[in-house]
């Protein structure tokens, strides 16, 4: 029994030592180290006790084992409790030290934008493409014939004054309108024709509101029984997709040599919805495009029978739409590649 008494004293001493020791432990790593020094089955103060079982007389083995186990369970509890407590504190501290100013600027992989013209052009192409329109891009350099004569604008026509033309030779010029593409298409293709023709056009105008180069999108439908009603119906779909579902159109008489009747198409102001504002100059309407029923002379000039077929055409200024849509106030900004401008428009 002397051995058991000795054992009890020994265990008490260990217990006391553990109590003293863990009171001074401040982090979970120290807990781990200390736990190991106590519990390791080979070197630990408690762990190694079981290895001494062999030296214990048989009749005492049961009691010995019980006591050692008791202290083992007790010690584990002490360590677990302390470990949990310290780990919680440590985690809290870690989070606190990782505190950030969440208002600092975001980190992003820089990305560029398509030009506002391209963005508008893509939107228009998407709309008309889904209606079955093909996209035809003509030449920037055209002949007088395709740009004017074939569009019912002979040499002495006053409409030539409507557009100041850049000439490259007596025959060749910089196209003043994408309408020039109409003729190429109608010469090459038989009805039904549904095309839109985006591209750069040029006029000898250079001031605050005019740029000598700008972009247009021409649209042309030639088929049987096409009427002015179809023109408005088609343009309604277009403006509603571009400017919003509640946008309305208004046709009013105008003049282009290659359409008859010719109309200006106004849309209800998408800013004030018709109440009148600065954008629409108080009228509730904004002029966005010119259109009309294709002049039969133009059809016939392209070898299309005007008794069988009729057509409608329209022309949109891409920059005008871009400026209206994005509120850009100066057309020149679109041709300067100023990154401060281009960075802003990502539709």
């Amino acid at each position: 029994m002397a051995d058991l008494i000795e054992l009890s004293e020994k265990l008490s001493a260990i217990r006391q030592e553990i109590k003293n020791e863990i009171a001074g432990i401040e982090n979970s790593k120290a807990v781990y180290e200390y736990r190991k020094s106590i519990m390791d089955s080979k070197t630990g103060k408690i762990g190694s006790l079981m290895r001494e079982m062999g030296k214990i007389p048989n009749e005492m083995k049961a009691e010995y084992g019980k006591k050692v186990n008791e202290i083992k369970v007790w010690a584990q509890e002490q360590f677990d409790e302390l470990d949990t407590k310290l780990k919680e504190a440590e985690m809290r501290l870690r989070y606190e030290t990782e505190k950030i100013d969440i208002t600092l600027p975001a980190k992003m992989r820089p990305k560029g934008n398509l030009h506002p013209n391209t963005q508008v052009r893509n939107q228009i192409v998407d709309i008309f493409g889904s209606m079955g329109f093909q996209i035809y891009e003509g030449n920037e350099i055209e002949t007088d014939y395709y740009n004017f004569t074939a569009l019912n604008t002979p040499d002495d026509h006053p409409a030539r004054d409507m557009q100041d033309t850049f000439y490259l030779s007596p025959e060749f010029l910089l196209r003043t309108q994408t309408s020039a593409g109409q003729i190429h298409v109608m010469e090459a293709q038989k009805p039904p024709i549904k095309i839109i023709s985006p591209g750069k056009v040029f006029r000898s105008d250079d001031d605050a509101t005019h740029s000598p180069m700008f972009s247009q999108m021409e649209g042309l439908v030639v088929d049987k029984g096409i009427t002015l009603c179809d023109l408005q119906g088609m343009l309604n779909v277009f403006v509603q997709k571009i400017f919003g579902e509640d946008t309305r159109t208004r046709l009013r008489p105008s003049y282009f040599p290659f359409t008859e009747p010719s109309v200006e198409v106004d849309v209800s102001c998408f800013q004030c919805h018709g109440a009148g504002c600065k954008l629409c100059k108080g009228t509730g309407w904004i002029e966005v495009l010119g259109a009309g029923v294709v002049n039969k002379k133009v059809l016939e000039g392209c070898g299309i029978d005007s008794n069988e077929y009729s057509g409608i055409a329209f022309g949109i200024g891409i920059e005008r739409i871009a400026m209206l849509k994005y509120g850009i106030n100066n057309i020149k900004l679109l041709f300067e590649s100023d990154l401060r401008v281009l960075d802003q428009i990502d539709d």
């Binding site: 990305k111 560029g112 934008n113 398509l114 030009h115 391209t118 192409v125 493409g129 889904s130 079955g132 329109f133 093909q134 996209i135 030449n139 920037e140 350099i141 002949t143 002495d156 026509h157 006053p158 409409a159 030539r160 004054d161 850049f166 490259l168 030779s169 060749f172 910089l174 039904p192 250079d206 000598p212 180069m213 439908v221 088929d223 049987k224 029984g225 096409i226 009427t227 002015l228 009603c229 179809d230 408005q232 119906g233 309604n236 779909v237 046709l251 009013r252 008489p253 105008s254 003049y255 040599p257 008859e260 009747p261 029923v293 039969k296 002379k297 590649s337 100023d338 990154l339 401060r340």
Partner: protein, 805 residues
């Protein structure tokens, strides 16, 4: 075009207010760009009767009591020299607005509000006004130009608003006229439209005149019939040059035309009223009893009324007497036959000249007049005739001369009578897509003076000679719908059209894909003009015989800086880079996809080649040759092709940082850093890089089929190597030597490069990761060792490269 409401009312009894009139005009195709009341700045000015008027001692002032009717009797101080008791003058009440004038009492300096005040200690409760203070010139109202008070007619009602008396309640409409309606370039032309849209009768201006028996020996001939389809002339004698009557001067003033003398004013009045330019020659200065209309001789000279001398060519049309040019046809009369106070007889001219000739002459000579602007839009035979009659009528009405029986009308046979147009009503409605009721069609066309006759589907119209635009059923459809109202159009969605395939074609899709790839790589799309400056070619140091200098010239550029069709996109990209830096953006990537223009011959005889080209520009401290090379590679990736790079040179690029870019051995463009000389010249603070790639060549790879490559069945093996080599050996050389050594290599990647003293001055090291991909069976360690040894042998024998110790 300026149209006074009062003048319109001469021809139509307008029964609607100005807002309604504006709307009606707008709806039928005449946009009123601006409308304003003549006296828009004048308010609270009434008729004042001066009851008493006493001089204020030692001043030029008068102390008056003025009866202002229901506004009471007011004490007014007045400095005008013509104020007197019993006179009626405009009285600006306290709170009135009138024009403030400078010390000269003539120059208007803005609008002022009248306050009660004291002059020299005398209270004054308003102001008696001059014409200038009310914006009334002598032409607008007799006495308006006097530098003192405007004297009102004796029958003016005391206390009444002066605006109706002075015509300040009149309205001016500024109307936009489309190019197809030259007949509406006149007050009467607009009146016809107003009458039609308001469905009111039109009153024609009086055209009657009573020629005397007098005739003279004179001859009018037209040599240049192509440029002058009609020339009429009439001799007027016993002319008395005087001031025109007030009504005529007022009307001319309202449309911005100053009165000169009765004969000149008549021609101007007819131009405004009927839209036909006229001219009056002083008959005494016409030599040789003849007028001939011909092309000018080259080098022939004329001095016009405004004392400018012009040297002419055979492209210019002149009116000559028997000896010399006396007018620049359709543009301006000659100084040598100008109407003077001494003029005793005139020859009136009313002619039709070819519109494009007048337009081109006017532009070439830089000489523009109301007449030339009018001719450029086109006049018709009808108004030529009508205007002459009207002018002769006015001579009689103004009693300023006698109309002789000497009349000439030289013409090419075009009728001034109406022509007939027959169309199908179904066709008209077919254009519109709605069925306009027959009675509405007939009513509208009647209002427009087309005297329609409807028989079944057949509609026959009588087209007045001034409606040269009316040719087909489409024109009739437009006339009907603009009066019937576009609001009747019922939107439909091309129900009859056949189904077609739409959307971008392959080229367009691929170009967009390339653009998007560049955007994803951080570049912004820019758009630059298709033309540039000759200086741009110098900026990039192109040799005198460089193909880029073979650029197409614009004959009539806005200025020299925009005078050549671009043959490269680089100069404008350089300018864009420099511009951004100037504005404080010191880092960025830009690309442009546009055409360059390659002429097959100059001047052009056939369509030039418009080559789709992409230009990339990048600048900033974080950019270098290789980041920009990465941008170029983004294009290759988008097309699923590989680009090859070879050291090269360009006159505008860094001699050792320039590459030629090829694809499958075919050159497609270049890439490099801008020279420091250009960087300095353009004031660029950070280096710039450009690349230009010909998309036309690349277009053969558009739409390349993408095929899935099955994943490798066996594990790939990767080995890293670090080699030491001479500095001059390029990465491409090493890669090629590695690749050539083993067919199983699927990837070679440089991951480190190092130069240092320990390697020796002429050496560098490069480290590569090489991936071997097995095909049929897994590689054993021995097989890989064999590959490695082959690679080392290849490098050693070809390039003298060793493994780094």
């Amino acid at each position: 075009m300026l149209v006074p409401l009062s003048w319109l009312k001469e021809y139509v009894d307008i029964n609607v207010d100005v807002e309604t009139l504006e709307e009606k005009l707008f709806s039928c195709g005449f946009e009123v760009e601006e409308k304003y009341e003549v006296g828009r700045d004048i308010s609270k000015v009434v008729v004042g009767l001066v009851k008493t008027c006493e001089d204020i001692p030692d001043t030029h002032l008068h102390l008056c009591t003025v009866d202002a009717g229901e506004n009471g009797v007011l004490q007014i101080c007045c400095g005008a020299d013509n104020v007197k008791a019993g006179g009626k003058y405009p009285l600006a009440l306290v709170g009135a607005t009138v024009y403030a004038t400078a010390k000269d009492h003539k120059t208007v300096e803005g609008v002022m509000t009248i306050n009660a005040g004291k002059l020299r200690g005398y209270d004054s409760f308003g102001m008696l006004c001059s014409g200038t203070e009310l914006g009334v010139s002598e032409d607008l109202f007799p006495g308006g130009g006097y530098n003192g008070l405007l004297v009102l007619p004796e029958d003016s009602v005391v206390g009444a608003d002066v605006k109706p008396i002075l015509g300040l309640d009149d309205w001016i409409f500024d109307i936009a006229i489309t190019a197809n309606r030259p007949d509406c370039q006149s007050i009467f032309g607009i009146a016809r439209e107003v009458a039609a849209v308001l469905e009111l009768p039109i009153k024609e201006p009086a055209l009657d005149y009573h020629p005397t028996d007098k005739t003279i020996d004179f001859n009018v001939t037209v040599d240049a019939k192509d440029l002058c389809p009609r020339y009429s002339a009439h001799y007027v004698y016993d002319v008395k040059i005087e001031e025109s009557p007030a009504w005529m001067r007022r009307r001319l003033a309202l449309v911005g035309c100053s009165a000169i003398s009765n004969m000149v004013d008549i021609t101007n009045y007819v131009l405004k009223e009927i839209g036909q330019p006229m001219h009056a020659f002083d008959f005494n200065y016409l030599e040789g009893n003849a007028i001939n209309v011909r092309r000018a001789a080259d080098g022939e000279k004329i001095t016009t009324l405004d004392e400018k001398e012009f040297e002419l060519t055979s492209n210019n049309l002149v009116i000559c007497d028997g000896k010399k040019p006396v007018a620049l046809a359709g543009i301006m009369g000659g100084l040598n036959s100008e109407i003077l106070d001494s003029t005793e007889a005139v020859m009136f001219e009313s002619a039709k000249f070819a519109r494009d000739n007048i337009r081109k002459s006017s532009r070439a000579l830089g000489q523009v007049s109301d007449a030339s602007a009018r001719y450029a839009k086109g006049v018709d035979e009808y108004s030529t005739d009508m205007a002459m009659k009207r002018a002769l009528h006015l001579v009689e009405e103004l009693n300023c001369g006698k109309v002789s029986s000497t009349h000439f009308d030289v013409n090419t046979g075009n009728s001034v009578e109406p022509s007939t147009l027959t169309v199908s009503v179904n066709q008209v409605n077919g254009v519109l897509g709605i069925k306009v009721p027959d009675e509405d069609i007939v009513r509208i066309l009647t209002n427009l003076s087309f005297a329609p006759k409807l028989s079944g589907d057949e509609l026959t119209l009588s087209i007045p000679a001034y409606r040269v635009d009316m040719e087909t059923y489409q024109d009739v459809a437009e006339e009907v719908i603009r009066m019937y109202g576009y609001e009747h159009i019922v939107p439909t969605f091309i129900p009859t059209a056949q189904v077609t395939n739409g959307g971008y074609n392959l080229r367009q899709k691929t170009e967009l894909k390339i653009k998007r790839a560049l955007c994803a790589a951080g570049a912004f799309e820019g758009v630059h003009y298709s033309f540039f400056s000759p200086a741009d070619l110098d900026l990039i140091n192109l040799a005198a015989d460089a193909p880029e200098r073979h650029a197409i010239k614009i004959i009539n550029p806005i200025n020299n800086d925009l005078s050549l069709m671009r043959t490269t996109l680089v100069p404008q990209m350089i300018a864009a880079i420099a511009r951004n830096q100037k504005k404080g953006t010191l880092e960025g990537r830009i690309f442009e996809l546009g055409n360059k223009f390659i002429a097959k011959d100059l001047p052009l005889t056939e369509y030039p080649d418009e080559r789709e080209t992409i230009c990339i520009g990048a600048f900033g401290e974080s950019e270098d040759f290789f980041t920009v090379k990465g941008l170029v590679n983004a294009i290759a990736d988008a097309l699923d092709v590989e680009f090859e790079y070879e050291a090269s040179t360009k006159p505008f690029l860094h001699p050792y940082r320039t590459a030629k870019i090829s694809c499958n051995g075919e050159e497609i463009g270049f890439l490099g850093q801008l020279t420091y000389e250009i960087q300095d010249e353009m004031d660029m603070r950070v280096p710039g890089y450009v690349a230009e790639i010909d998309l036309r060549v690349l277009s053969q790879y558009y739409g390349k089929d993408r095929k899935f490559i099955p994943l490798p069945k066996f594990l790939e093996e990767k080995r890293d190597f670090c080699f030491v080599m001479d500095k001059d050996i390029t990465c491409a050389q090493v890669e090629k030597a590695i690749k050539d050594a083993c067919e199983y290599i699927t990837s070679i990647e440089l991951f480190d490069i190092f130069e240092g003293l320990q390697l020796g001055l002429s050496k560098k090291s490069m480290a590569f990761s090489v991936v071997f991909t097995p095909k049929d069976e897994e590689f054993t360690a021995e097989v890989i060792d064999g590959f490695v040894s082959n690679i080392l042998d290849s490098l050693s024998s070809k390039l003298g490269i060793t493994l780094r110790a």
